[in-house]
Each structure stands twice: as structure tokens, then as C-alpha cells.
Amino acid sequence: MSERIYSCFLRLYPASFRQAYGDAAMELFRERLRDERGFWPRLQLWLDLLFDLVLSVPETRRCSRRTLVHGSAQKLCGVPSFYVLEDDPLRPSAILFGGILALAGLSGLSVLIGRTGVYRPLLAGTRSAIASRRLNSFLTVPPLLGSGDDPDQALMGGVPEEPKPRSKPQLVEAVFMVASAKAKLDAAERDRVVEAAATNLKEHYFDRGAAQRMAEALLSHERNGDYNTTTDGPAFADLLTKQIRELSQDLHLMVVWSAEPFPAGPPAPPPGAIERYHEALRQNNCTFEKVEILPHNIGYLKLNSFPDPSVCRSTAVAAMAKLNGADAIIFDLRDNGGGYPDMVSVIAAYLFNRSVAWYDPRNNAAEPTLTQSPVPGSRLADKPVYVLTSAETISGAEQFCYNLKMLKRATLIGETTHGSAHIGTFFRLDDHFGMGIPETKPVNPYGRPDWEGTGVEPDVKVSAADALETAEKLAQSKTPR
């Protein structure tokens, strides 16, 4: 059997080589087989042969081709093929380790292959996740789903006029969860959705001119039959979103699709959703992932959202107290998807020794938001502040960055942030389609466009991965030795 296998291996060599040395090679193999008995010697033999094969076959083949071309060049062949196994022989333990590793890899692969049937990474593509996350960025100001006069309308942001349930990311996930099943659209539903979208845009979008252009464009596409080939619900929602954003450059405009029908009236939070959100916050330390003092007495806070202060204020206070003795402070917002403007203000207050105007694009009131500074006992008001940013620094986190940058209170290090600022309101278009429309555009006290659509530019542009190291170096250069 072994000889048969090796004779198959020999076929890999060019015919001229086999003719000249095939028998001799086979003879050598037989002699090694005869002399090297037992499991390990045999294993060693086959490994030798495989290495030999890998090294010498290409070379002999190359020489063989050269011979065909150059004729007499055959005499030169073989010279470069002096590849040998000069290393120490493989130890049994190494072979065993290699075997186990290969087996583990193979098992892992089998498991993965077996799981492909049930693997649905982000449900209907990434659409639902993106839609939910995007919607979350609206939802930083309560109430999430308050009632309005229009039964098809639910507030997604804005100023509460009366106490209402607080927004909850989980709630949004529940409302906008998109099932993996694709929904087939018919022409009637497409027309209905387009017309409802156009009407809502014209009625509610704060820029009337842009609203008119978007509405006309959508209706024009509909009349021209541009949508006739789109029969998939999520794809249609994405297409409409893309078209209205192209015209408005407003990332808070969106059309979403849901497998579950949107309720006809104002939707109520599912029972227990708020409690589950609070519990999740508590279990995750309110997304205060790391609160540490780095070498050179540099405070480091990795914060992955600005959570509901009604639940997390004490966590925030404790975190800031831990950092109070630092000579400089680094806020790591590279994974911060936003949150409650109130929490943004709570943390920012520690960084000032007097109350400062704090721009909040969600605040439509005539009075500007002010920080509650100074915070009694805070020693951070005059310490250097560094904020780490990435393209995943979103919404409330961008508000934190933007204000500190405009107030020249922090050095931003990393990447340009995501670019989500404004509020939006959810409008139901039909059973499965809804859309988010910003109804107001806040006045920016800094007298310039905020970060909507563009993100906040860092002061020091480095990749997000390098941001912490850069910040540490900068902070070290400014802190006392």
C-alpha cells in the first residue's frame, strides 16, 4: 500500500526524471520502509517524503521545461534543487501538537459549516441594525413614543411637554425589528408608501424647499416606473432613504421597513421594556467600561454611551470621583453611540469652573442649555482633557466632542465622528413602512453648522486604533513629571 502511494507521488515528477531515477527512488523508499519501522519512524518517513516532494517536484519540473526549450541545458538542472531538511528532526511532541492543532482547526471548521444554516448575522442584512442604531440616535431625548394629535405619528425626539415614558434602545429594537423573511411588495403598496412619504415630507420637514424637491423626486420616480422592479420591502425602504438623503444631505431622514406591522395608533412601549433597559444598564456598569488611572497619573474613562441619568447618575458621579485626582483626563468615546443629552451635561459639568452654554441640538427651547458647573469638589476644571474619537462616535458623543472643541476645552484625537445631530419624528406610512423626519433645525450658538452630516473633526488626526497611545503621549508631555 505504501509503495503504491509513493508511486503515485512519483508521478508528480516529470517523465524524464522518472525515467532516469524513478526506479532508484522507489528502491530507496523501499529500503527506508524496511529499516524504519514503528509509528514514529514511519511518521517521520512520510513527513520527510512530503517535504521532499514539495521542495523537489517544482524544481525538477522547472528543469524539465527548460530542457524542452534549451535542449542541452538539462545538464544544469537540478543544481538549484538542493533543498534539504537541515533542521533538527521533528520531536514527537511537536508532531503531536501539530496533529492536535490540525484536528482542532478541522473540528472548528466543521462546526462553522454546520452552523451556516442557522446563522443570521444581522437579520435582514444590516439594515435593521443600522436602522435601529440610527433611530437610537434620535431617541436621546425622551419621550420615545409619546402621543400626538396625529395617530400615525410618534415623537422620536424633541422636548417633552409632559412627563412621558423615557426612550429605550431595546424598545426601538423591538419596534423596528426586521425579520429575516423578505416582504414582497406590490405596486399598490409602493405607490401608497411613496405618496405618504412625499406628503409627510412636505408637511413636516423643517426645510420646506428641500421637502418639496424630495417629494417631487419621489413622485417622479414613481411615475416613471423606477420602482417597479423593487419588490423587496427592506430594499425599497433603503432605496427611498438613499434618494431623499441625496437631495437633503440629512442623515436623519430615513424610511424604515418592519416585518411586524406598525400599530395604527400611537405605539406604547412593550410592557417591561423600560425595566429591562435599566437592568441591562446596571449589569453593564452603565456602559462605563473602564475607569482607570494610567501611568503619569492620567485619568482614563472609556464610556460607550451617555446613559439615562435617572439610573446612572450615581455611576457617573463615582467614575468622575475616581478620576478627580488625575493630572489629565482622557475620555475614550471611540465606541460611544450616544445617549441622553442630560448625561452629556452631567459629565461635562466637571470640566468647567463656571456655568457655560452647552449646545444641544435637541433643545428647541429659547433658553440655551447650561452646564451645572462648577461641580463641588471637582479638581478637573483646569486639567487637560483629551477625547478619543472614531467614525463610530455618534450623536450624544459627538455633542460632547463638539462642545468641548468649540469651547477649546479639549483636544480631540482620532477620526472624524459619525455626523448625527438632529432630532427626528417617526411617521407611519403604512403597515410596514415608516419614516423619520427632523421637524426643526436648532440654532447653533457658535454660529456655524454643527456636526450634522459632517462629523466633528479631531484636532489630531490619527486612526482610532492609535488614538489612545497618541493621547497618552500628549498628556504625558503636559503633566508634571
Partner: protein
Amino acid sequence: MPKRKLDPLPSAAFQILLSLADEDLHGYGIMRKVEGQTNGRMRLGPGTLYSSIQALLANGLIEELIRSKSARGGDERRRFYRITSAGRKLARSEAERMADLLRVARARKILGGEYV
């Protein structure tokens, strides 16, 4: 005559020449002798061994002899290899080159031991 100078001589070719310095050997004998003279570090596989032999033959550094298997007797014939004077000369110059390297290494304290 060699068509191409093997300078420096590839390691496997040098080992094969050394193995043939004091006796004629067949392929398996060469493989075992090389293994022995390198303390098991170098085991020439059939492909590498015979492509090296092919090159050494082509360069006139060894020659091929057909003879009976002496140890087992019988009519079975196999190919033995013998080093030529050119091969011996090349092996010697290679050994001297390596000795020079060794002297330098020892002078630079990279390697301990007596000067050779």
C-alpha cells in the same frame, strides 16, 4: 566538464561529495551516510537526492557505476556513485573555504575552540 561552477557548493551536494570521499555508495547508502555525518540533521529525500546526483553527474563531480548488490549478492544490479577527481578537488576547496570561515568566526570569538 562542469558546465557551471558550483561556488559556493550547495550544502546537499557538498554532503554527497563528502559521503563518497572514502567509498562508492548507492543512493540509499548516500542518504544514510549523510544522515550520519550530520548527526541526523539532514535526511535527503529521494527527489532531492536524485536531483542532486543528477546535477553532480552533469557537472562531472561524480560518476555512476553499475554493480551487483554486494551485501546481498545475487544478480540484482544497482547504481553506485563514485567521486571524481574534479569532485574531490571541489570538495576540498569547499572545505578550505569553510575552514577559513571557521577561523574568522573563532578569531571574532563567535565560536570557541582551537584554530584549525
